[in-house]
């Protein structure tokens, strides 16, 4: 029972409060943090103070965190990128008939034949539409990015297929390449979505129409040219090498927290 005579949040602690705060804020090295953990086990008042700090941090993030789940306001985006209609969308180059796609460095064959390349910017028509900006937490795309291993195909109720092409570490978290194929409507999208441990934000989208004949023929070996659409972005943010299956599984298990 906490002594009631002192105002909440001002009760004394055995360990210095700045040290407990540094522990909560991740400022301590591994050994120092471990010593705090051991101390807390024997000092419930200090543990209570740490609980207060953690709860306050969580509450602050919730209270002001809405913009992280919202798209960038259109007027602000247009102000920053005035000359590009939708600068995060990278159209495919016109190409007669790529035999297939391979995403450079991934070594993963994409289960798709891309047709005559006419760049299209797909309008928002369904929850599987990949658009630059944060993804709703309850969406199938968010779920796939969170727990679907690279190379595995997940089918949705309406016949679309979602596939993760690969995962890369970034200085602040991870990015994953994802593709959505809707054979029925002839649409294909690939995107790069990134996280810093909370939520996923689509950063770059490549959109194209499938050529039904090509899709029916199956998939060949890629030229890799199309994959270059993501490379500049990944280079710019300092992304590392693509994760192998074990490292990716570990990242999934940790909820994409570094």
């Amino acid at each position: 029972m906490i002594p009631p005579e002192l105002p909440y949040g001002t009760r004394p602690t055995v360990m210095d409060k700045d040290r407990l705060a540094a522990f909560v804020d991740g400022e301590l090295g591994p050994e120092a943090a471990a010593s705090v953990v051991m101390h807390l086990a024997d000092h419930p008042m200090d543990q209570a103070y740490v609980d207060d700090l953690v709860a306050a941090n969580v509450a602050l993030m919730q209270a002001f965190g809405a913009p992280m789940d919202e798209p960038v306001p259109e007027d602000l985006r247009n102000f920053i990128l005035p000359s590009v209609p939708d600068a995060s969308v990278v159209p495919f180059r016109a190409k007669a008939r790529p035999p297939a796609l391979v995403w450079g460095g991934l070594g993963i064959g994409v289960a798709l034949a891309a047709g005559l390349a006419v760049a299209v910017f797909l309008p928002v028509v369904d929850p599987l539409d990949l658009r630059p900006g944060p993804l709703p937490a309850a969406s199938a795309l968010h779920a796939a990015l969170t727990d679907q291993p690279a190379g595995e195909v997940r089918s949705t109720q309406d016949g679309a297929q979602i596939m993760i092409l690969g995962s890369v570490p970034t200085p602040e978290g991870y990015c994953r390449e994802i593709e959505v194929v809707r054979a029925a409507s002839g649409k294909f999208q690939a995107a790069l979505a990134c996280t810093q441990g909370v939520g996923w934000t689509v950063e770059v989208v490549i959109a194209e129409l499938l050529e039904s004949a090509g899709a029916a023929e199956g998939f060949g070996t890629a030229s890799g040219d199309e994959a270059q659409g993501f490379a500049p972005f990944l280079d710019r943010i300092g992304a590392g090498a693509f994760l192998g299956p074990d490292d990716e599984a570990a990242a999934i298990a940790k909820g994409w927290n570094r």
Binding site: D25, A59, A63, A66, L76, A87
Partner: protein
């Protein structure tokens, strides 16, 4: 100015809007602040060091603009729109009325902190910057960051009483 600068700037806008809201406490004013900061960033893009953190650079611009604004209008104080405090988009993520009330309490309590404490708390607790990074953004010693942070929490915790019910 390169295209990559503009793209990188767009990429950090969600963080900037979050930071601005935590300072200003008012959705519209916060977005105006972000807009003004982006204008300044585009004008002064040559001052940005490639390879450094765009978000930290922008936090500093926002903080400077915010303080300039407060100096110009000291009597105005922080405007907390009731809709922003109780019924804003943030509240949608809180399913229970008591959760929404709690988030509103947090916003009001944050708005009641002195500017220096609010900046530090926002950068560390919300934006996840380290003490050193925060000191660099605000151009103050790390010791100042720690003391402001400590005072901010001492002021904030009694108003929030977040874990009290669970503990007793």
């Amino acid at each position: 100015m390169t295209d990559s600068f503009r793209h990188d700037l767009v990429a950090v806008v969600p963080k900037l809007r979050r930071f601005a809201r935590s300072l200003v406490g008012n959705v519209q004013d916060a977005d105006d602040l972000v807009q003004a900061a982006c204008e300044r960033a585009l004008r002064n893009s040559s001052q940005f060091r490639p390879g450094s953190r765009m978000d930290s650079w922008m936090y500093r611009i926002i903080q400077n603009l915010w303080l300039d604004d407060k100096r110009r209008d000291r009597t105005r104080g922080t405007a907390i729109d009731p809709d922003d405090a109780h019924l804003s988009d943030e509240g949608k993520s809180a399913r229970l009325p008591e959760d929404r009330m709690m988030l509103a309490q947090v916003r009001v309590a944050m708005a009641g902190l002195p500017p220096g404490q609010r900046e530090v708390l926002a950068l560390i607790a919300i934006e996840g910057l380290s003490y050193k990074e925060t000191a660099e953004v605000l151009d103050v010693p790390v010791g100042t960051v720690m003391s402001r942070l400590s005072r901010a929490r001492e002021a904030l915790l009694p108003k929030l009483r977040l874990t009290e019910g669970r503990r007793q």
